[in-house]
């Protein structure tokens, strides 16, 4: 294996960041340029949104149930079982709903985008597209970015609901508590800042998932082996970024909304 000098390695990293930034900015700027590929956006929304719906709902449902179970033993020691609804609702809406939906969509769609675009690169379909007068960023990246952002937003709302329902199942069937109390405390404890925080995250995560998937796909090198590598790297990068950016957004929103 050929060794790379630290300078070359650093240059390569900086160039990657620069290329990613250019792709990200252009994916948004293209929204204001003609033509707008609405049909591609709808097709991607179907693939990303409806395709991911069952897994996102299942993941959120079981996480809500597990959160209720784990919280119950601690709350019981303090005789505070009545606040279980509050705990599940804040946990799901602020944090677990958006992050879980983001991670599931990243696993499913960042890989799909990287492999699809990567295959198009190695079979010269991207070059053919440029040769035929179409901007691949406009035709392929912008629809994926907008669709992922929009669909992840709605997936998160549904995921939050299923997370709360999962908690309600545990409260009713395992803990044998009153679900009316669970739902009223879950509802009443939610503040504007909780909902705002929980719904800002999927917008950012959606952008990360689509741009990372497209970036790795469009920069695929090395034939079919390269496609596999790009796919894996896209998923890993998207997941790590989601988790890291989550901390950052949470803190920024806390300071902005005055909830720290």
């Amino acid at each position: 294996m050929e060794l790379t000098s630290p300078t070359d390695f650093a240059k390569e990293r900086v160039k990657s960041v620069q290329d990613y930034a250019v792709l990200s900015v252009r994916s948004l700027v293209n929204l204001f340029k003609r033509p707008l590929y609405v049909a591609d956006m709808i097709q991607q929304a179907d693939l990303i949104g409806f395709g991911s719906l069952p897994i996102v709902l299942a993941a959120c449902f079981f996480t809500g149930a597990a959160l209720a179970l784990n919280s119950a033993s601690t709350l019981d020691r303090f005789g505070a079982m009545t606040v279980i609804g509050q705990l599940v609702s804040v946990g799901i809406v602020r944090e677990l709903g958006p992050v879980l939906a983001g991670l599931v969509v990243a696993g499913r769609n960042a890989s799909g985008m990287a492999s699809e675009l990567g295959s198009m690169v190695v079979t010269e379909q991207i070059d053919a597209m440029r040769a035929l007068g179409t901007d691949p960023l406009k035709k392929l990246v912008t629809p994926r970015v907008t669709s992922t952002i929009v669909m992840l937003f709605f997936l998160t709302i549904l995921g939050d609901l299923l997370g709360l329902i999962g908690g309600a199942f545990v409260v009713r069937l395992v803990l044998r508590l009153d679900t009316h109390q669970y739902w009223s405390s879950a509802w009443q404890t939610l503040e504007y800042s909780d909902v705002f925080t929980g719904l800002t995250k999927p917008v950012v995560f959606g952008f990360i998932i689509a741009t990372i998937g497209c970036y790795y796909g469009l920069n695929t090198k090395g034939g079919t082996q390269g496609v596999g590598r790009a796919t894996t790297e896209a998923v890993v990068a998207a997941m790590i970024l989601i988790i890291a950016v989550d901390v950052f957004i949470t803190r920024v929103l806390m300071l902005t909304l005055g909830t720290s």
């Binding site: 010269e124 379909q125 597209m129």
Partner: protein, 282 residues
């Protein structure tokens, strides 16, 4: 024996062209990382001429086509296509120019999620200037040219390698480009299919007088093009008499290690004394 009259039609705008050459490369250099791919490439492709580019694998043949289309930018030097300097153009400006320049890719590069009809109509659908009926008519004409009108509703995966190349040609010629770039259009194909494709390229050269660059590994393909013409009345390629071979606008370019070592016609290629070239063409 008299020289056959070549049924070559002139393009209507031929006399108003701003430049006498379709493509001009002047001292073009390109390197990928530390590997020099092209080292000072200079040549001219006249309007209506077809130039075959030879060279061993990795000599930079396909790179020349990508540079001519603006898919790659050179490190230095000047490239002009149809009188316009493309080295300083933005991608948006290049999209306009690419309407007049078509490329047939090595592996045809058809969009595998689209049908043959959608692949061939791709550019017209993107432009959205023509009615559906007009697009359908143009697609049928282009596919008839490559004798594949019956494949309209098939997907590329359902076609053979030779058929895919021909669909690639149909997709390229549907907008009647002034310049065509062929990247190993017969690579990996059997001799019969290769001959069909060469016949289509000769037809494009002699009937529509399209300027072309043809990258190939197969010497016999280029020699066939230099010794044959397309007879419209019989709708087939026919051999030229030996004394009429200069009647077809056919040139040859040989690359070696990123440099041009030969640029001339069939006669001078046959008469060359360069040992490397003689060995290459023998």
């Amino acid at each position: 024996m008299s020289t056959p009259t070549l049924p070559i039609e002139s393009r209507s705008a031929a006399d108003q062209r701003p430049s006498p050459d379709a493509i001009v490369f002047e001292d073009v250099e390109l390197a990928f990382d530390d590997k020099v791919v092209l080292a000072g490439i200079s040549f001219r492709l006249a309007h209506g001429e077809t130039k075959a580019i030879f060279g061993v694998a990795g000599s930079g043949k396909s790179t020349i086509l990508k540079l001519a289309l603006g898919l790659l930018k050179p490190d230095s030097g000047r490239i002009a296509v149809l009188g316009e300097e493309i080295t300083t153009m933005t991608e948006d400006q290049l999209f306009e120019l690419r309407r007049k320049v078509g490329i047939v890719f090595q592996e045809s590069a058809l969009f595998d999620s689209l049908t043959v009809r959608e692949n061939v109509a791709y550019r017209l659908l993107e432009e959205g200037k023509l009615s559906e009926e007009e697009i359908e008519k143009r697609v049928r004409e282009a596919l008839s040219f490559v004798e594949l009108a019956h494949t309209m509703d098939m997907y590329p995966s359902e076609l053979s390698g030779g058929m895919r190349r021909r669909v690639g040609i149909a997709r390229t010629i549907i907008t009647e480009p002034e310049v065509l770039l062929y990247d190993s259009p017969t690579g990996g194909l059997d001799p019969v299919t290769s001959n069909t494709i060469i016949e289509l390229i000769v037809k494009q050269r002699d009937v529509y007088k399209t300027s072309s660059l043809l990258v190939t590994h197969r010497l016999q393909d280029a020699f066939t093009m230099g010794t044959h013409y397309f007879d419209r009345s019989e709708n087939k390629m026919k051999p030229l008499p030996p004394n009429a071979r200069s009647a077809v606008p056919m040139g040859f370019l040989i690359l070696r290690e990123g440099r041009i070592i030969f640029d001339g016609d069939l006669k001078s290629l046959r008469e060359t004394t360069d040992e490397y070239i003689r060995e290459y063409i023998s």
